[in-house]
Symmetry: D3
């Protein structure tokens, strides 16, 4: 796989000093536009030598705190304020962001399941491939800003994986603490290949995945968490000067499948706990009602491991197989 | 218009003593089911003489607190606990409720814009017609439980209209206060014909429209508000015995179009206030960002009348014409 | 309502002697064709004085025996073979017929729920209105050939309603027997307004509704039943000469809602009886399996009135509310 | 029908002097926006006493010359340039205009088949009703600018109907000539009820329907024809001063159904003539090819009346029933 | 390709004694459910040493006899009744089964064209990959139960391919005869890669593909054939004890493309023969009618090789390219 | 990749003398047709030894001049008129051609981005693979006839690439001139992999890509250009005898991305120039109007390199990223 094969054209120059607003032009041939394209915005702010940090928003559409934080930053951050290079992708999966949906309405793909991408694939794959080949190699760290999206409400947290390499784990943990989200999680994934996370980690670079909010809503108070976290990152990586406040984040972990509960039938999910509440071990977490059959008893759902409720179903309706609850335990 | 023309068949008997779980069978001829039907659940609990109160949930789909309150009540309320008659329609627009969407996926209609319905119309119209002809005439009061739905987040409130008839206004206001939602609103509507509200008010009966929550989410704490309000109604109308706590609701009003703000362009809406905060007169309420163009300044939106923010846009994305903010003022 | 308002244009002349193949041109303005149209075929065969009988196929799409019988008849029947007038509408709801679906893909309407139609309505309504205003008044009898369609399998039968007018009932019963389908039913309907049946009956004319087969399939052996029945009608009404064989049809009735059973949940329906078998009173008629949950017991369904199974669910899957069984009893 | 029942709200004041850009806010309740709306732009330019002329663009979407002419005029025309009142509706069916489609993507309706509208109907009907009740009564003349749309290519013409009232016919003919399109047609319609034309004519007012171009294309040279025609109208009605050039328009007529030809099968339509060419009487106008069957001979189509080809099929593909050719004859 | 890469999680243990109801959880990230999943049911019944036989239902949705047979078996078969291991996949392509459609509504794939699957592919591919890697290697024989589906009606048969390996051919033929369907076919395929058949045969294992019925219908009498055949398989492979009745199956073959006939145009297909009838060589098998053009002669279709009609078109409508007839000849 | 793996079956024999009308049968398993297929027409005319030229139409649907030219040629060209072999694929992407759309409605693919195809891919990929493996190797030259399609209007031109191999460039240039379209272009592409062009060029064969017209329209006068060009090709390659007229084509080039202009916002595009007009360097080429906001100024677009306008946007509406203008300069 190599950059030359990418059909993307752009006038961005990652080595140029100063601030650039530019676009990755992805050819998109369709009935309404034979020679049309998707223009993915990229902003580069560079000043001399120093680390390169990539901030990503809109990896999924419908997750707004990250995108808005980066859109605002792109207009306020100037080259003479920093030392090094900041790359902003405020709407990585632009078609999904514009639709307000997790996956791209063009190809139905979840961008965060398509890395390292494919130069001759679908629009999402072509974008992923370009980022993988042209941008990730330039970076020292990647901060990917999510917000749970329509289907989930998540406690505002930032997260990292259980990393086997000790040195990378330490550097990543330091960044995780510096971001200082209300909660910091160490997680294991059960979702298969294709995450941006693995692509960056595989290059031996720092990767953080923040989840600031959820339910497809842009909350003013959660936006402040994202904005503060991004400023903390700029300081932590010495891109801008300034002291970091002592972190107050709560360090927790989500180690296993028992931390997740899933709906077993279709209906309306009534959670018994709000986000942030303690779910006692062995207790029901919620129940599924059947609006077409008032006489039918709801189905009570339990979760394998008790702990703090860090994730809950967003919309009231559920289908069999939907995740309805995620718990976390304090990290020893 | 008369009941005989309705194609709905049912075995419910509104005059029968005791508790009945029944269904309104609406014929629904379609490709997959020539002689199929939609079965709308109706629950009747009756004990001797006394007032009749109808509780409605699922007038819109995706508004869960009301439906779940009534589904739970239908299993716990027994005839010997009451004096009079309670009618429950926990999923009035059942196809919309099952889809989790405001309007019916079958005919695309907003049930709350279709009253008094039509016996030979679409599924939503046939249901509305039946309720209008067969159920409303039996009632002394109708409590319609909404929750804002996917597109809006609303401060938990109950509401009534500015009613011209003084006696009805007083009776309705007494019920509004007794429900004791955190906020009680007196409102004017700008949405056109067809509301259940007008149908009931036009018969000279008490009508309350509660909005408990929003964003298509079922919140445990808002569910408690709905459940308590319904219990208060049962007491207020002497269906069950028990003293009502002194109301603590805040009485407010939404008198004019200036209380609403609308998006002027498509993008991501960033609210500057959370629900319940005071919006100073003449201040911006939020702004619309353009994810495809980071260099473009957001469009700042103002609202005609300041006050407490009682409604805000649910999803982050907006289109021109979407309501983004509603304010209320304390009622003198 | 009057014919002059119909936007339909045609060169058919119902008073002209001989055979005409013509079309009803219904204007259909749409994105792809501003001045386009739907051309509904109509065939008229006329020879001197005599009765007028209208044969209808394709009132619903996906019911083939009637359409094919009439398509074949339209090519073989010549004016000099008859005395009187035969009008053939082999594809009344042409868009539905071409799609092989019960309802029109253009307006989603079941043609047999739209009579007497509307001159300024949707395509189906405009066609119904024209038939009602221009064709029905010419007729002495109308034979409407159905076949159950995709969602139902029906015992090959012809049917009439319980008619209050004794004279019309007798004439209709005579025609019903003369058609000589394997079963002849007298029925009550539970489907609401808009049937072609009511339109014709309301004019005091003979109306028969045949159901020859089902499941969206064209069966060679059932086609023969339809072809023979149509020939019998031509003889019965003295349009062609020839003796009618002594009928062997079994006379039965479907008097009430208890003759129908409906699915109560979504799943796979397993019928316990084949069409034509006797369902003992009080016995289960079938059960619904849940393919996503092998451990869950199927839901057993019963039917109010036993009798001969004359209708059963077509496709294996069912949704709550779908009709799964219809029984008939011998008519005393 | 009366204006008070319309759910439309607006701050436009048709009696106010000067220029106003305003909007008709049509409430549009849907899943994504409970209290959303469609904002239809209306521009009023008024200066003292004088005639009122309404110019309409975007009655159909995908017909661009009219909309763009009026959008440009709305920015350049100032009140002190005129005497009287000019009302501009540059995008009457706004949802259709934004989609570039003939009919509204919201309700699937052709706006020009919905007059006089319905205050409690669909979005298109509500707009039509408001125009009919609030705007048409103010006008002396209405000029409706169409362009054939995607499915048709039309010779640039303006047109009027065969009007029974002699005085109105004369005034309309004078305006028609003054517009001075390359061709001026007198027409009979075969499309049914609901045209804006009939609504205006029924009020005894001047109505012209221009068709400037077609195929869903905005042609620079045809835009000039529209712009010049509109200027001619402003002069003709004495709204602005200036002499009209002597008209050079060719006066023709389209009197009957024989002036139209329709496709009889599905395939690719090859026209034998370009727009403006003379089609000899009795000659084929084109043929339909079958791309799936090269060995099959194309079907040759003829037209009832020869004449100048003033309309031809836009897209290459055709379906049975599509209009493929329209001819006109010089008006005696 | 290896099992470790599969994103599927499950608690099934194929080596555990006794009966397990379990699920393969396939992660399915989508707009409504970021961390959702498809739960494919798997049932394992094991008792000591012995052969392993896999029964598959729902490889295609809309083919019900197999799924229902296995659902019923999963509730009745107990470990102590068998010697060896029975694995049941009653709904292999669960989303297709629930939709009652051949292909998955999630990814549009025909499961039986996706083997050996792909661990990072679509949902259907991920399931196929898991079955290929985790389950097929455990098996001695695989019995795949189909039913023709919506588009085809097939004579109840079981089938095998012309296998080059003599030993495998003999073992497979023995199983084919033991199943004892009304007809047993030896076939050649013309459908391309990806069949489960090839995957199993390529491992040198016994594979049978039964087609019990068709038309998307669950027939009580055909269900009995499937249930009896599965019991025969359990006996044949010595999983349960019991003597096999002497087979009465008719052994036939479908060797070449000449055994198939295809529609050449769109219309309504009238078969001249019922399933099981003998089609004489050189005779027409059916004809296609054109409902929009009664005057047009139907197109008569012939088939290359006469024989017993073992397959015919299901729905009445056909499109060019659809298979309308399949014949078989007795195997020498 | 090899031909044996293709699932396509056909009775065409490319080595047989005479004329054959045949089909490539591509298996297409879907809900409505388990064993259905797409039949892509192929016509072969062969007479003795001589060059082989492949003419392609319908590589994209909605581009009609090429398809109709080849459909007509397939009926008129006889083997005894030629020396060598002519292969015609008048509807390469048949599903797209029948839909009148650029991409296949079956798999959403642009055929001209899928070469060299995939034997086990989607329908478009399977067709591309077969052409690549079975037909291209037989050819000396390939002439691919396009017409811009719905979204573009192109000056009638034929084109070739800047070819690195001098000998191939010369031979291709000779053919390009011989075709004698009004304009002949030498181009560079910016659309990514998968063009038929590259597949043919990579085999060292002559390839021409003609664009005769556009906007999804079949123009009689442009059809003549295509027909004359194809006749010129037959003569140029000595397949038929006859002298070529001296070419009058204008030789031009489109060397870089600066020759293209793209829309930056959604609205209505007003071009300032007609096709064939000279666009002065540094001048605006058009502007985008906003029909929802008459008061908003249009956005003026410029193009990097002036020249003759050889391409312009087809439909009036544009979305951000759509190509609105292409210029060419005379080739030195």
């Amino acid at each position: 796989m190599s950059l030359e094969k990418s059909p993307i054209s752009t006038d961005v120059n990652f080595e140029k000093e100063g601030k650039q607003f530019s676009y990755l032009r992805v050819p998109y041939s369709r009935n309404d536009s034979a020679w049309g394209g998707v223009f993915v915005p990229v902003v580069v702010v560079k000043n001399g030598k120093g680390p390169t940090v990539l901030f990503v928003g809109g990896n999924h559409g419908g997750e707004y705190e990250g995108s808005v934080t980066l859109l605002k930053l792109s207009r306020t951050l100037e080259a003479d304020q920093i030392q090094g290079r900041v790359i902003l992708l405020p709407a990585l999966n632009l078609p999904a962001v514009q639709a307000g949906e997790r996956v791209s309405p063009i190809d139905g793909r979840d961008m965060n399941r398509t890395f390292p991408g494919k130069h001759n694939g679908t629009i999402s794959q072509i974008i992923a491939h370009y980022v993988h080949e042209a941008i990730l190699p330039l970076c020292d760290a990647v901060i990917d800003l999510h917000s749970g999206g329509y289907s989930l409400d998540l406690m505002p947290y930032n997260s990292m994986h259980y990393l086997p390499d000790e040195e990378l784990r330490k550097r990543t943990m330091a960044a995780l603490k510096a971001f200082d989200a209300p909660v910091s999680l160490v997680m294991r994934e059960f979702t298969g290949e294709g995450l941006l996370d693995y692509a960056v980690e595989g290059m031996g670079k720092i990767f953080l995945c923040a989840e600031i909010g959820g339910r497809g809503v842009l909350s003013p108070s959660k936006l402040k968490i994202a904005e503060r976290g991004v400023q903390n990152m700029l300081k932590h990586f010495n891109l801008i000067k300034g002291d970091l406040a002592k972190p107050t984040t709560r360090l927790m972990e989500v180690p296993e499948t028992g931390n997740y509960a899933y709906a077993q039938s279709n209906g309306i999910y009534e959670a018994f706990f709000e986000i942030g509440e303690e779910v006692p071990a062995g207790q029901p977490v919620g129940q599924v009602h059947y609006p077409e059959s008032p006489e039918r008893e709801p189905e009570v759902l339990t979760i394998g491991r008790g702990g703090v409720l860090v994730g809950t179903r967003g919309p009231g309706f559920v289908e069999r197989g939907d995740c309805v609850a995620v718990t976390a335990q304090d990290l020893e």
